[in-house]
């Protein structure tokens, strides 16, 4: 029933405008407080209707569960409301600009979701007979071709589950290649600006990580690379470089670096997290890259999903191709064939092993291929160009007020500022980021890369319109000027307007509470008991 406007006031009245009620529920209008399922679900409630099986004699041996399963259930409407309410406490690409540098928060087309859910892709089992999944094998092969053509490489290992898993795969291929050549180098060169996954991956494989220096312009120092290789002659397995690098700059001397690495019988692993800047503009294979993972969830827009699932296929140079892990696809006259075990390999195929059960993130492959097909060669190039254009537009919109650590030079798809513009304001990078939340923006990546003090790494992506960028730039300018006017309240306590204020991470780490436990029963005082 709608409300009749007769007999009720239609003006806004004269209430005090600054008054904010302290509500009984803790809710603030549409901003809802929501308990944990353990606090309102019941052990005997179900949101599914299942028929009890007919009487039968179980064959569980002595393994039947004795203890009850203390998991609360919710009826369907309860579950729907609970998770819808939780969702509303999240920032998302679909609701706003998400300029997280190095994370590539671009639009996630829903066509891709629809395609991944076709029963012919979403409802097939990894181990059903291969004769019944030829379309799936073809799809993987198609995507592999798109990835190889766009990177200028000769092979691709499709199975890694995420970027870091792809790094591990690429480095395992490199280790296997050294072993096959009877070499056992022990060191991997990693610049300080690298993602933390790079040194972690190298260390996981038993390599000693040797840090290499950057030049004052934010790129890797070729002389330092050469000197380090010379110092450890014959003992360098690989260099791990991100290009474009984490400062948002293209490594100008990348070919010379690759040549120096190759001359030392070492391999060039490229962290492909920033490949989205150069798709259709340059091919990593032409830059001397031997192995590079591609974050399908960044460059090719499979949804980040609140932290996964990702997908990290690794393209490989001709030298590394024979070592690609199982499973892989072999081209034959009868079409693509999935090779799953070492017993099925033929001469020239020397897989180093297996990264994961089954065949990789098929659901992500479908989405990425739909994305790439939608763009085509022309659209992929345009997307890279727009990403770089947008980042530079933000750069010139802010560079007079914020501080560029490496001078006013073009950036790639992301622009890096340091915190020197906040000097003497009493506002930190963290405060600044939290104030952005009050303005309705997700903060940029902060305090990364480590080579810059108080780093702020902004990646607008190609998905933003000019109007959206203009408003973002204007907002950032307003915040900078406010900080410089020392309006510290706006920053030091921010965010004020989010579902939560700043959270106490110190206590969370010191006394970890990692699951819900029932509250201890309150002590009953004699007075209360009466």
């Amino acid at each position: 029933m709608s409300m009749n406007t007769q007999g009720r006031p239609t003006d806004v009245g004269e209430a005090e405008t600054s008054y904010r009620p302290k509500t009984f529920t803790g809710n603030r209008g549409l901003d809802m407080e929501e308990p944990l399922i353990f606090e309102f679900g019941h052990f005997d409630t179900m949101g599914v209707d299942l028929d009890e099986p007919e009487d039968f004699a179980p064959e569980l041996g002595s393994h039947a569960r004795a203890a009850e399963l203390e998991l609360p259930g919710l009826a369907e409407p309860e579950a729907m409301r609970h998770y819808v309410r939780l969702s509303r406490n999240n920032y998302a690409i679909d609701s706003g600009l998400y300029p997280l540098g190095s994370c590539t928060m671009k639009h996630n087309p829903r066509l891709n979701e629809k395609m991944a859910r076709l029963p012919g892709f979403g409802d097939i089992h990894p181990l059903q007979p291969l004769s019944t999944v030829q379309g799936a094998v073809e799809l993987i092969d198609d995507l592999a071709r798109w990835l190889m053509v766009s990177t200028g490489t000769s092979a691709v290992a499709m199975s890694p589950k995420a970027g870091a898993h792809g790094e591990l795969c690429g480095m395992m291929a490199i280790k296997a290649a050294h072993k096959a050549a009877d070499r056992n180098p022990t060191m991997v060169l990693v610049p300080e600006s690298a993602h933390g996954t790079n040194p972690a991956t190298a260390a996981l494989l038993g390599y000693k990580v040797v840090s290499i220096d950057a030049k004052d312009d934010g790129t890797v120092d070729l002389a330092s690379v050469k000197a380090t290789i010379a110092e450890h002659a014959g003992n360098v397995a690989a260099i791990m470089l991100t290009n474009p690098n984490t400062c948002g700059l293209f490594e100008r001397e990348i070919i010379e670096i690759a040549d120096a690495v190759h001359a030392a019988d070492a391999y060039f692993y490229c962290d492909g997290a920033n490949f989205n800047a150069i798709v259709g503009k340059a091919r990593p294979g032409d830059l001397g890259v031997d192995a590079m993972h591609i974050n399908l969830h960044k460059t090719f827009s499979t949804p980040h999903g609140g932290g996964g699932p990702g997908s990290g296929p690794v393209v490989l140079s001709e030298r590394l191709a024979p070592f690609a892990p199982l499973p892989f696809i072999r081209k034959t006259d009868d079409g693509p064939v999935l090779v799953e075990t070492e017993a099925d390999t033929i001469e020239g195929e020397q897989p180093f092993g297996r990264m994961t059960a089954f065949h990789g993130q098929m659901g992500m492959f479908v989405r990425a291929l739909a994305y790439m097909m939608s763009h085509g060669s022309d659209g992929l190039k345009q997307a890279s160009e727009d990403a770089v254009l947008n980042a530079n537009y933000v750069r010139v919109g802010l560079q007079d007020l914020m501080s560029l650590p490496f001078g006013e030079r073009p950036c790639m798809h992301e622009v890096l500022f340091d915190d020197s513009f906040l000097k003497d304001t009493g506002v930190t990078t963290l405060d600044f980021a939290k104030a952005m939340i009050d303005e309705g923006y997700h903060p940029m990546t902060m305090y990364f890369p480590l080579v810059v003090h108080g780093a702020m790494l902004i990646e607008p992506t190609e998905s933003e319109s000019r109007a959206a960028l203009d408003l973002f730039i204007a907002t950032m300018r307003d915040l900078v000027m406010s900080a410089q006017r020392k309006e510290t309240d706006r920053f030091s306590g921010a965010p004020y307007l989010a579902p939560r204020r700043r959270l106490d991470e110190t206590t969370a780490a010191r006394k970890p509470v990692l699951k819900w436990t029932p509250p201890a029963p309150a002590e009953v005082t004699p007075a209360a008991a009466e």
Binding site: P53, E59, L60, A64, R65, A66, E68, E70, G73, L74, L86, S87, N89, N90, A92, D94, L111, M115, D123, L127, E138, K161, A162, G196, A200, A203, V209, F250, A282, L287, H304, G307, P309, D344, F352, R354, M355, T356, Q361, G363, S374, G376, S377, D378, A383, V388, L389, N392, V396, A433, I437, H442, S465, R501, R502, D504, A509, P512, L514, K515
Partner: protein, 448 residues
Amino acid sequence: MRYLPLSDTDRGDMLARIGVDTIDDLFADVPEKARLNELLDLPRRAGELQVERQLSALAAKNVSAGSVPFFVGAGAYKHHVPATVDHLIQRSEFLTSYTPYQPEITQGTLQYLFEFQTQVARLTGMDVANASMYDGSTGTGEAVLMAHRVTRRNKAVLSGGLHPQYRDVVEDISGMADDTVVSLPADPTGTEDILNQIDDDTSCVVVQSPSFYGQLIDLKPIAEKAHAHGALLVAVFTEVVSLGLIEPPGGQGADIVVGEGQSIGNGLNFGGPYVGLFATNQKFIRQMPGRLCGETVDAEGRRGFVLTLSTREQHIRREKATSNICTNSGLCSLAFTIHMSLLGGAGLKKLARINHANAVKLKKDLSAVPGVEVLNTAYFNEFTVRLPEPAHGVVEALAEKGVLGGVPVSRLEPGKPELENLLVVASTEVNTDEDRAAFAGALKEVLA
């Protein structure tokens, strides 16, 4: 291009504002000899309709599980997922959000991760669980590495009942890291003597129950022997629904429990993305891999959640991290949490009973086929049968008759004559009596 908001006018104006003439001026750092002057040798852009047409044609070449009598398991299982689950995980706020590094505006993700961790801890009977791994196989690899850190030893003993591809993942990462792995021969019936393999150099024993072959394994004696030698028991499962009916590994002395969570909330997807479950005891939390969500309060004292103990992780610790892992399996863990909330303990138990009842019926039906021998005595929703001829050909012949009838062990363990005739079959709640009759009938014809 429909995904790109900039118009050519915008582009021209923006280049002028930046102060360059052409877009290529912004790519000036790319070495000239590596610049692409032509488009990539790939098709041009395509509209939704064209993409949908092409991909649908590929999808149509595959036989989907829901379209036939379907008995394939061996690490991934066909279950019914309520419609609510897929709707909720496609909400923009979940689907298009990043890792919750800004907790003030990602409490939605953080709270469900906390619920997920609590559900997994309770299911497995362990103190704590992490916010998920890529899948069960990579989680098993991480569990072994963690056991090495905890015990400061580097020899893992793997049961012959472990999923062969999980074993391969563990062996291959261990080989690269120069650790030792002792893998026992295939053990379809759960009769291997694993206790004899445990010694003072052993860091962990890895045992799967229900095993790859479907056999339920008593973990208690293995835990006792492992602990007596200062080693850990890593308990693995690939079918999480089994925990609705069987004794959880935590109650049997497991130190690390790792498994595949796909069955709850997640489709088959030809093998991924899935969701790895990982749980352990309180004393080991600082050696755990992967993300952890913890409870805390905000500046106004209200309860909230954050990612915590990140000093274990690569972005802080770099080469000293407990793992190189950067992501979890966020959206798949959400699907798990929602489905598990709809089931609750009572629903999971009922679902597990239906699965077990269907497997018991299937065993009866297949046992009646001449020449078929069921190898397992205690099992949940999956078991192994010995056929009178190589299983590989039988499965292909069954597929031609429109029945997807299990996984030949030889597909994962080729070149082992003693395994060539073995077939692993699973039956879940999706199977009807008609499905089972079709399977048994077709098998009879194929073997005749």
